[in-house]
Symmetry: C2
Subunit: 406 residues, 2 copies
Amino acid sequence: MSVGLEFPSSLVPIKGVRLASTSANIYSNKRNDLLLIELDKGTVTSAVFTRNIFCAAPVKIAKENVNNFKPRYLLINSGNANAGTGEKGIIHAKSTCQSLATITGCKMSQILPFSTGVIGEDLPVEKINQSLPELVNKLSNDAWLEAAQAIMTTDTIPKAISRQVILNGVDINLTGIAKGAGMIKPNMATMLSFIATDANISKEALDIAIANAVNKSFNRITIDGDTSTNDACAIFATGKAKNNLIDNCNSDDFIEFERAVINICCDLAQAIVRDGEGATKFISIEVSKGKDQDECLGVAYKIAESPLVKTAFTASDPNWGRILAAIGNSGINDLNINNVSVYLDDVCIVDNGERSKTYTEESGKKVMVQEEIKLSVNLNRGACKEEIWTTDLSHEYITINAEYRT
Amino acid sequence: MSVGLEFPSSLVPIKGVRLASTSANIYSNKRNDLLLIELDKGTVTSAVFTRNIFCAAPVKIAKENVNNFKPRYLLINSGNANAGTGEKGIIHAKSTCQSLATITGCKMSQILPFSTGVIGEDLPVEKINQSLPELVNKLSNDAWLEAAQAIMTTDTIPKAISRQVILNGVDINLTGIAKGAGMIKPNMATMLSFIATDANISKEALDIAIANAVNKSFNRITIDGDTSTNDACAIFATGKAKNNLIDNCNSDDFIEFERAVINICCDLAQAIVRDGEGATKFISIEVSKGKDQDECLGVAYKIAESPLVKTAFTASDPNWGRILAAIGNSGINDLNINNVSVYLDDVCIVDNGERSKTYTEESGKKVMVQEEIKLSVNLNRGACKEEIWTTDLSHEYITINAEYRT
């Protein structure tokens, strides 16, 4: 089940990027679960990773390699997170990198490994290594849809988007993929997202663009409040568009390019929410007129992660008392509740801290039955505004997560 | 459904305390929903209340009255929280207090009102006021079980316990009731709990005893991480046991008495968890060898409130990777994961930050299928230890909360 999400179409190949995916039999029911991405020489790569202390072995390796070496390959498996696997996990991930380096002739440090799936099980190194020659042979420019499918876990629909931006008359293309579904409250990036562009941009400028974009997209979503051990988002710029080098973060080109990265990241982040485990609703929560970003996000996440608010959304029940209770729990000790107002789309449900005089149960219900809902909270005490995206909490979520491993 | 919880029996009346309950037709399906508790003159009362900023109208009134006046009556309704009701809510609560004061001849300020139920609906003042004469006529010493039943909302079983303690040869009795079920992460007290004792104790000493007891009991439970707008716990000491006045917090008598209060509060708090909405498991989470209380509780609550950990418990699935991910998300940035160990009862599942060499899936499963499970996390970096209690997250929770109002 997903909310307002269409199967990807019209994906634009990115010059200098080739992909291949296959089944390495990591999943017991055969499906593609291994993805290789090849980057042309000269490609600039930036990445951000989970802040979960128990970060996975591949995250540790990729973190080190992305900034110290020039990545040529990304090797990504689903079905196994290679997290909670200690020193052995590092050895396993490095073993797959070494095999790929031998086949392709690049250095081991030029490979970024990524994993997603069950935590705590040993990475099936042999299965992965045996699949590498086939992957290298299959590399092609237009395998983006298959790539998006190979990294899925409990996702019900692949997530892939292309965007274009014109810089000084030069067409710049961006194509990105992502996977999500559960354990989603990225604290740096989402589960996994990979974005390619043919833009010509410096490493420093790309680092800044992706950090800003992630902060406005993947760091603004929550499905269940659980930050994964494997979150990662990487962007690679091949430079094949031959635009003038973007290396000044104050230039118009940078601002235009960054906007395109933000847009594609927001679309992918929202796609993850729309396909969240058990999602029946897509909910935008905007908290405005807060004193600062922290308090706006604090209120927004408290609402978004309240099981009671989430189940009220599932039931299409305008049980706004639960929203008030969540606001009241968000830790703003000097909040004057008499100034707080709450809207469901355009319907004012709470005004001056109590039920609005114009509010009727029918008008609230009319919004709540929709698949897409905007919940706005006005704190009336500052100038800051933040928006995040989340889902409801349905029986399907319980079913998926009580049965995922067993 | 509740876990290991028996119907209350052998409730001991407390001299100086009379109770009566009835149906004021607040619930559409007729059941007792209004409780009156009468305290003899000279009774000393202490109470602690929710820290939710959107606290309910009765909380505001009771908070003021309990410390400034000598309470003679507690008037408690279920089915309506009188929260999110603004100034009107205060007027409504005061109106019921005024009616009761007129009938009983006490001052309005000597009445403590409490409400629990749906947030945001007007208190049915007329219905309550019409029931007061009947309640006053029915007051009796041994109506504790009916009292526990009258304050239930989605609770499936009434919660009431009696305890005895002997101070210098004098028998001291305590009888307490509580209600819980959902929106349970007390940040001061639980939804509602009332404890009576015949002990002779000063107001100051009673304040300290209940504050300490609540901190070790109701402030150590979570069902869904949502702190209610109406949490309150009150204790009243009638002095009828005629023990020597307890007024020194360093005395043996105080320490003995406080221990009895802690015990009854822990039993009531655990009863709330055992009857948590949709609960199929009762889970104790102990975090030891942390640097301080904050980090022990931070880790414990992060695990207890992770929807992924909770659904793994529902499925009896020893999916320990989710537990590691929760620990990794708890905000201890300098945690050395190589020192962390995790146990399910006596089974070591994680040692030195990775799966224990002695661990087998079968041994984990054997613990997970139990109704009562102890999960222990050793951080190995300090001397602090904390324990909290929680439930799993089942389909029943979703059903209850998607249907509670509709």
